[in-house]
């Protein structure tokens, strides 16, 4: 049974054992290989997780895309709801927002824009107007042609089919720009120098700024009211270096809108045609305590006089009265009486206009409304319109009044509107006063219906506002998430880049390690081959050693026996035995040489050979003796013959003597 102590301890071989050393080396190399594998697996794990995170990142990017789409959609909806300015603000980061941009508006201003753009230096210049106002050459360039004049290259063209009225152009201009201030320049006006705004002059409650408009030798700075919102240009103070001053009204020819105020006031009313929209905007600004400032340092040149056509003036009056009805309803009657437009207006257009007028005047008190109707009546009577014509116009106005409501999807009072409409259609009043009285009743009833509907609408509006706020909160949350996601994505990208760099390095190290590993394997194989060879040699040596040891044992035993035979005392055995052993060794050597010389394998064979040799020697000796005797006999005959006698030689005599002595 193999005992525990006899077993080779793992790794416990001594330094003298080359096989153990090789085994240890082999184990070390294998451990190195395992370490390299461990490193490789570690790299692979990181690579795997990185790639998995990449999938997450792609998912995140897809989600971001969705959110951005939602955001864009929300922006569109907000823009349609009156949030153009907000959309424009979001379109450009605050850090890169321009202080001032110039927008030329109207189809006729295209040439002015091109002419002015060269003077504007670094200030961005845009033009907004209907597509048919763009010259054919410019349109071709927009479709890929490259022969545009250099001056047009920096002009931002905003051609839109809805850019027909000034209000539409201004709203589009605000939506298409992002500067803190936008200078709107109308047809017939140009810039002669790069426009600059004195920053300190723009007080926080400023909504509009009026540039100095130079008209030949004189200059204007905004407008002033003549009567009932009828405006005229205001002469600028002499000198262009004067500071900013309050101005009653801006001039539609050139004015600056401050975006912060615009976001509070809202869009230009696109229901108003012509410059009246600016009038309405100014009045709304004033309601919110915004002011209009004149900026004499900002100069615009008027190159063509405003239109003077009667049709244009009439339209301006119509729009002015609409603004008046909305903001100063108490003055509407006076204004109507002052203006002949009701009598000059085509009959077909009158009911619609009156309805529009009355609808804008809904905010007015009942007394004001009565005043309006009375003014209308007085005006009609004053202008000697036939009675039946007056009654017909009043009736048309009543119909239009109710139809205007019937066309609206009122939340309440629809039945009342339908009943009133039927009553008006069936009712024929020959007297103007009675007609006007009924008109007043209609107005009162109309007011109640509208008030009721407005109340419901306000509630709905409040709900809508609440929902919008929720949407805004959600949108802000989405934006925040998107920002966080983008941050995370950027971080992941950075990590990915790092991992990729690391991976490349790892691959390089892996390749290097693989080369080392291959060399190691080669070395290991070589070492194993050497080990096997060593083992073979070891086994051979061990066998020979065992044989030698066995022989030594046998020799020792033999020596002991010899010593005993020789009777050597134990105390004497030491030196004498050594000497004797040396002698024996010498004899053994001689003996071995003898054996080799005799060609015998061992002593027995040698002795047998010697015996045979001895016998052959004896036979030879016997033959020699016989031959000697024969010779002696012959010599004796020689001595004794008579014929041819001769003397014996010394040798022959010696032989005779020797033979005589021997038996």
């Amino acid at each position: 049974m193999t005992k525990k102590g006899d077993k080779t301890e793992p790794g416990g071989a001594t330094g003298e054992d080359p096989a153990a050393g090789l085994r240890r080396d082999l184990a070390l190399r294998e451990q190195q290989l395992r370490d390299l594998t461990e490193q490789s697996l570690g790299f692979l794990e990181e690579l795997a997780e990185s790639r998995r995170r990449n999938i997450d990142r792609d998912e995140l990017a897809r989600r971001l895309g969705e959110l951005e789409q939602v955001l864009a959609d929300a922006r569109r909806r907000v823009r349609h709801a009156g949030g153009v300015a907000e959309a424009a603000r979001d379109a450009s980061p605050a850090g890169s927002r321009e202080v001032l941009e110039v927008v030329f508006w109207g189809g006729a201003a295209h040439g002015d824009a091109i002419a002015s753009q060269r003077q504007c230096g670094e200030v961005p210049v845009a033009w907004v107007g209907p597509p048919d106002a763009v010259p054919a050459r410019r349109t071709a360039e927009a479709h890929g042609a490259t022969n545009a004049e250099p001056a047009e290259r920096g002009l931002h063209m905003i051609a839109h089919r809805d850019a027909r009225t000034p209000a539409q152009c201004w709203n589009l201009g605000m939506a298409a720009t992002s500067a803190e201030h936008v200078l709107f320049v109308g047809p017939g006006h140009r810039l002669r120098a790069e426009p600059r705004l004195p920053g300190a002059d723009a007080a926080p409650n400023t909504a509009l700024l009026c540039p100095r408009i130079e008209v030949g030798p004189r200059a204007e700075l905004g407008c002033e009211e003549v009567q009932l919102l009828r405006l005229r240009p205001r002469e600028a103070p002499s000198g262009s270096g004067a500071g900013a001053t309050k101005v009653p009204w801006p001039s539609a020819g050139a004015f600056v809108v401050r975006r912060a105020a615009f976001e509070r006031i809202g869009l230009f009313d696109e229901g108003l045609l012509g410059p009246a929209a600016l009038l309405d905007f100014t009045l709304r600004a004033r309601q919110q305590n915004f002011e209009v400032l004149g900026v004499p340092t900002l100069t615009v040149e008027r190159t063509a006089e405003p239109r003077e056509a009667a049709a244009g003036e009439r339209q301006d009056d119509e729009q002015r009265l609409l603004v008046l009805a909305a903001h100063r309803p108490a003055s509407l009657g006076l204004a109507l009486a002052d203006a002949p437009l009701l009598w000059q207006m085509e009959r077909a257009a009158l009911p619609g206009y009156l309805a529009q007028l009355l609808s804008r005047a809904r905010g007015a008190e009942e007394a004001d409304a009565r005043a309006v109707v009375e003014q209308v009546a007085l005006g009609l009577v004053q202008h000697s319109m036939p009675v039946d014509e007056v009654c017909a116009r009043v009736r048309d106005s009543r119909l239009e009044l109710w139809r205007g409501l019937a066309d609206v999807d009122l939340p309440t009072g629809r039945d009342q509107v339908r009943a009133a409409l039927r009553a008006v259609e069936q009712q024929v009043l020959p007297e103007p006063l009675a007609a006007f009285a009924v008109l007043l009743e209609d107005l009162a009833q109309n007011r109640r219906v509208v008030a009721s509907a407005v109340q419901v609408l306000q509630q709905q509006l409040q709900q809508a506002h609440s929902q919008k706020e929720e949407i805004d909160v959600d949108r802000h949350a989405q934006l925040a998430r998107a920002e966080r996601a983008e941050g995370a994505r950027a971080a992941v990208q950075t990590q990915l880049d790092q991992v990729q760099v690391w991976l490349r390095e790892a691959h390089a190290r892996l390749e290097e390690q693989a080369t080392t590993s291959e060399k190691l394997h080669h070395d290991i194989a070589e070492v194993q081959r050497q080990l096997e060879a060593s083992r073979g040699q070891l086994r051979e040596l061990e066998a020979r050693s065992a044989e030698a040891e066995r022989a030594a044992h046998e020799l020792t035993d033999e020596v002991s026996a010899v010593a005993q035979v020789m009777g050597l005392a134990s105390t004497e055995r030491g030196d004498r035995l050594k000497r004797r052993l040396a002698e024996l060794h010498e004899e053994s050597v001689k003996f071995a040489e003898t054996l080799r010389a005799a060609g015998a394998a061992d002593s027995k064979q040698l002795l047998a050979g010697l015996d045979a040799l001895s016998q052959r020697v004896q036979a030879a000796e016997h033959g020699i003796v016989e031959r000697d005797r024969q010779i002696v006999r012959l010599l004796a005959e020689v001595q004794t013959r008579r014929l041819f006698p001769r003397a014996l030689s010394a040798t022959e005599q010696a032989l005779l003597d020797r033979m005589a002595r021997e038996p």
Binding site: T2, L33, R34, T37, S40, L41, L44, L47, A48
Partner: protein, 450 residues
Amino acid sequence: MKVLLVVHQFLPRHITGTEQYVRALARGMRAQGIDARVLAYEPLVQFDSPDRLFIERDEQVEGVPVRRIGVHHRQSPNPELRDYENPLAGRLLARCLDETDFDLVHVFHPRNLGTAAIEEPRLRSLPVVVNLMDFWWICPNYLLWRRDGSLCDGPPEGGAGCIPCLDPALDAALAERRVGAETRSIGALPTPAGNQSASPVRQAHALLGRKERLMALLAQADRVVAPSRFLARIYEGHGLPAARIVHLPYGLDPQRFADMPARKPVPGRPRLDVGYIGSISRHKGVHVLLEALQHVDARDIAVHLHGSRDSQPGFSEALVDGIRDRRVTFHGPFAPSELGTVLAGLDLLVVPSLWYENTPFSVLEALHAGVPVVASNLGGIAEIVVEGASGLLFPAGDAKALAALLARIAAAPERTLALRPEKPPSIDDNIGRLRRLYDEILAQRASSDA
């Protein structure tokens, strides 16, 4: 002589054929003067000792000293690596070896214990004999049987093909991480023994280098015992030197049949009792037997299913719950002591295995009890079931062929039931041959040491 028998699990909790064989060998050896002891791994340590990282205790099982060791899975969370590289279990084995002067280590199944079962004895210059019990050294699911039910020749693509077969979730995780090619490129490098973390990369790597690592280790054993020539051929085909292989068919412990009641006489049987003994697993083909029964019209047949449902719970639950044929009875597992009683109640044992069975103990036990066997003509079964002498064979998985056989036997049972199979070797025969093998190895060691 002191011999350590190493097995992947042991009685009393685990009672499959391997455990029964090791038990019989250990008892028989001890009866014949060999100091045989068992080192058994306990794979369910996390259930009976959830708060322990490992267990190491000495027990006596039917008079046999047993060192039971086990390592909690959280200590070696990589299931693919734990299957054959379990460093802590290796240290426990080493401690066992250092405590006792064993003369030889006989490894029956090193699953969960791993390469240490050979490496640790060799570090101590102890001779090692390995008994091949299945295809564990080649195949990670030890069956050479693919997930789709087809037979396998061995790990395809250097083990890469084993990943989707063994663990589709792992395959999906690798695909998601797109590191399959890189992992395969280092598949041949040795597995780092110290790191047992269970990332997809490491699980895959453990499968990639598995066969080469284990077969190289198996070739270092002093002798490899193959109970069937079929198994020997398979392992030879995968590089195991033929000179190392010793063919030694399993022997049975006759004591297990000591209390076996007398079997029913052949004439006058009221019905044909057909039995199935084995785990209710898909690769065992028990469903083939039930499908075949649907094609057998005879009503005087009773099919008895004996076996555990723990191996493949999902499959077995569905199969047992889906039994509608009144001729079929599911009995569940039986205690080892009930073996004789169970076999005495059978006229016929059906072994419809779909994988390369090595040498099913159920077949040997049936043959020992004189019960004819109808079995799949596959793997090692065909070596012990002799057509017309000890039973009948049918193509594996062919339910209609099995049905035809059953119908034929049911129609005329006398001829088949009159078969008297030759008894397999006894456990004492095995012990005698093993003792000679041990002596031979030790003598060789002694001579080489000298």
